[in-house]
Symmetry: C2
Subunit: 326 residues, 2 copies
């Protein structure tokens, strides 16, 4: 530490914050310094505005400890906590603003995994015999309407019981999840099961919190999609089924009107073309990706506008705000 | 949920916060509602002011997960995190304001345990043959100078190597910690070892954060005391040795001038009286406790004054602020 730094002595309700901010400002990483400044200030303001009691403080530390301890390779309680607090939706909205026409984003949730099998067009991503068969046929285009081939698409959903594969104790491999690649026409299609509503995991500390808050823990029926290709803004989204009982009260704030879809039924010619039984459920959807440049430009412009509105004098370094000290 | 509640749909950077606050306001617990309101608002403001990136968000969630997973029965990484962020100091200051003359508080830290042996006056609380012998003789009085008998006192310190007993992998029981009771004259005295400076645990996520922030992880030499008796405000404090190299840069912000002490040497009569070698280190200290009523009155008054300064219209219920909606 700087030998000339003022002594850290006799810290009080009134002077702890500037002193903590100062001691956290010794790295040469302007972004880290800014993040710690805002984190410390908000954390301390929270305690001051609530006159946080020692018992409440300890309960919060124990809650966070329990969240950490229930996490495993296939369970992420802190993502769930972020989801139910609306933080996940907010971070996605900040990072992936959508130029006109682009498909809106939705929450990632805690159930994406990295072991999904890569499947070719036409294959099934479900092994659930109880699920109602669903044919999904999609295109991926840019904002000018041109197809985008070679996009890696991660898709995951629950089985017909409302559980992701990782929630089954006897999971012996991935199911109801796959990775695909869009073809030369920007198309991909696969067989799945009709999504069902399901409760987010409510046997842990986050479920207990929802109970205290008298909130339900249900998500409306949906299917997750994640799109990835160099040069295109990473899109995490989901499609929601119209008419679901939880369509307007999603526990994790993910539903957007533009992402609510109607299912059709597979007719005879479609059934023969895709090799699926006539009368199965049929979901057709066109996705529109923003280019990295389109998204970066919009994100940077939004950031500077919003920070100016907050009265903060900032500049962007690597697209991330830091105080402008010049 | 209220059937007339507005739908949770199309949530954005600008409308997620009031919607999340609303959905968290359905319990009948006004304090919980207020805590969640301030928590959600500060958390979202933090993300908006920093334009928190998806990578930073994920790094934070992983950091919290690691903090939880390194916690054990004898290691509490979240208390450590709270300590190095200055939150612990702040919460103690809010909850235990000191009327004039009363002994100031300091941070609890993560090393208090509940298995310390109860010892009588004159016994030793250390089993460390390498430590420099120290005689500690104290009184406990009220603000009028009357002795307080029957106070339960928890005392803990590191051994001469700068480790608490729980930091030794081969710990087979408590050491350098004890529980005592003040006698009819409000006195207690015991044998210990001279405190040494030591690093807070820096092999976990909090240590890594301190490294990124270019902060040292040292605490100055000190001995912890906790005082408990029905009718008296719970006092958690520590005594710090004057002249310690970390006296003015404590990693957890605990040092107060009024808690810095000078050690003397035990003279002949004192040595014979207490049964300790002449020339040993000698720490004498008078502690002054606030009554529960003195502390409650001051805490309530401070709370109402500070909340009014913040422009918040609040009332106290069980000494804790909630919005005054009347």
């Amino acid at each position: 530490m700087d030998a000339n730094a003022p002594p850290l002595l006799d810290l009080t309700i009134d002077n702890i914050t500037p002193n903590a901010v100062r001691i956290n400002s010794q790295s040469n990483d302007a972004r880290l310094t800014y993040l710690m400044d805002r984190l410390t200030t908000h954390l301390h303001d929270f305690a001051r505005e609530t006159r946080l009691s020692t018992d409440e403080w300890m309960a919060a530390l124990q809650f966070l400890t329990k969240c950490g301890q229930i996490c495993t390779d296939v369970r992420q309680e802190f993502i769930l906590l972020s989801d139910i607090l609306g933080l996940s939706l907010l971070v996605d909205a900040i990072n992936h603003p959508k130029p006109p026409l682009c498909t809106e984003g939705s929450v990632l949730g805690p159930f994406h995994t990295h072991d999904a099998p890569t499947i070719p067009n036409g294959s099934s991503m479900s092994s659930d015999p109880e699920g109602e068969p669903l044919l999904v046929a999609c295109t991926i285009r840019d904002t000018q309407g041109h197809p985008i081939p070679g996009v890696k698409i991660d898709i995951w959903e629950t089985d017909s019981s409302g559980h992701y594969d990782v929630q089954h104790a006897d999971r012996d491999g991935p199911s109801e999840r796959c990775v695909m690649t869009s073809d030369a026409n920007g198309e991909f299609w696969f067989k799945a099961v009709k999504p069902v509503p399901y409760p987010i995991p409510n046997d842990g500390p986050v479920g207990k919190l929802l109970g205290l808050l008298k909130r339900h823990c249900w998500r409306p029926s949906h299917m997750h999609f994640m799109f990835e290709k160099e040069g295109w803004d990473h899109l995490i989204t989901a499609l929601y089924l119209r008419g679901d009982p939880y369509e307007t009260s999603d526990a994790v704030f993910g539903v957007k009107k533009s992402l609510v879809v109607d299912l059709a039924k597979v007719d005879g010619p479609t059934a023969r073309r895709y090799g699926i039984e006539e009368g199965s459920w049929y979901l057709q959807r066109d996705f529109v990706l923003a280019s990295t440049k389109e998204a970066d430009d919009l994100r940077d412009r939004n950031a500077m506008e919003e920070l100016a509105k907050l009265g903060l004098n900032m500049k962007l370094v690597d697209h991330l705000p830091v105080p402008d000290l010049d």
